[in-house]
């Protein structure tokens, strides 16, 4: 019984891993957005090397989760999609890093 409880405690950080972030492409998107104030769709596409469709679909998921703010605007009559990490996204990303570190640190050889 005690062993089972200990095992559950060890697995706790693993269970707390955010599945929305725990996907390589979305993690990369959040990593980029976490180090800049804002970026547009094209810049992020160039930096992450994701295709337009792929990036768009991942951004939708991140927006649904409330992690990314997407604003569409016109600059010189050209539409531009501006992306920014929301406060909720920043906190979630920070927690994800902390949890992952804990999980990886607790992995035995």
């Amino acid at each position: 019984m005690n062993d089972e409880r200990m095992e559950n405690q060890n697995l706790q950080p693993l269970a707390e891993i955010d599945r929305v972030i725990h996907e390589p492409a979305r993690l990369l998107i959040l990593a980029y957005l976490s180090v800049v104030e804002s970026a547009d769709f094209l810049f992020l596409m160039n930096q992450t090397n994701l295709t337009r469709g792929n990036l768009s679909s991942h951004l939708s998921k991140l927006e649904t989760a409330g992690y990314v703010e997407i604003k569409k605007e016109f600059v010189d009559k050209i539409p531009r999609t501006l992306l920014r990490l929301s406060e909720k996204g920043r906190i979630a990303f920070h927690e994800y890093r902390r949890n992952m570190k804990q999980v990886l640190d607790s992995l035995s050889e």
């Binding site: 993690l27 180090v35 104030e37 970026a39 547009d40 094209l42 539409p79």
Partner: protein, 211 residues
């Protein structure tokens, strides 16, 4: 680069804004402008006319750079606003550049006043080349450091070297090749910039649809 090294990710994103070659071409053209000034002075063009031509060319170069960034880089690379830490670095580099221009202007004006000294050209004027070399190397090194752009170290040398090269050539061979030495340095920067621009255009085609 590891995936979660955020510092490296930020640096990579920032450095990518220098990979269009336009800064290199811009700096090369500014140096070429000085070469034109030296050429005109050698041809006996009056100082006033020379200054007008140099200023006009300088304005054209800056305009071409701004238009190039707007028409070539932004539509291909997109736009980004960096975080407060990077913004502070950019501000520091702007202040360094402003300080350098002001220092250069003061030295230039002081030299101009001293050169009209009734007793002829005082010996202090020989310090001007040293001031030029020190100013360019220090400023470009600081810019390279704050802007995370290693090429600027080399460009500092390319800006500084024509002056001592000219002094050596004049002393040992008696020739005035300042136009040539400035133009060679400028050509190196323009060449590097053109290569980078070519690579940038190849790697970043215009998107089919507006994003």
């Amino acid at each position: 680069m590891t995936l979660l090294n955020l510092n490296e990710i930020e640096k990579k994103a920032y450095r990518s804004t220098f990979q269009d070659g336009l800064w290199d071409i811009f700096l090369g053209l500014l140096l070429l402008n000085l070469a034109v000034g030296a050429l005109l002075a050698n041809r006996g063009v009056s100082e006033r006319l020379n200054m007008i031509i140099l200023t006009a060319l300088g304005v054209l170069i800056v305009l071409a750079f701004v238009i190039g960034k707007k028409r070539i880089t932004v539509p291909r690379m997109g736009v980004v606003k960096f975080g407060p830490k990077r913004k502070r670095k950019i501000w520091k580099s702007r202040l360094i550049l402003l300080g350098s221009v002001l220092a250069g202007l003061i030295v230039f004006l002081a030299a101009l006043l001293i050169s009209y000294h009734p007793a002829g050209r005082p010996k202090i004027l020989f310090l001007l080349p040293a001031a030029w070399v020190a100013n360019t190397i220090i400023v470009f090194s600081l810019l390279a450091y704050y802007l995370d752009c290693a090429r600027l170290y080399a460009y500092g040398l390319l800006f500084a070297l024509p002056v001592p090269c000219q002094i050596i050539l004049k002393k040992f061979f008696g020739v005035n090749l300042i136009t040539m030495t400035l133009a060679v340095s400028a050509a190196v920067m323009i060449f590097v910039g053109t290569l980078l621009l070519n690579r940038f255009l190849r790697d970043h085609p215009l998107p089919m649809k507006e994003l």
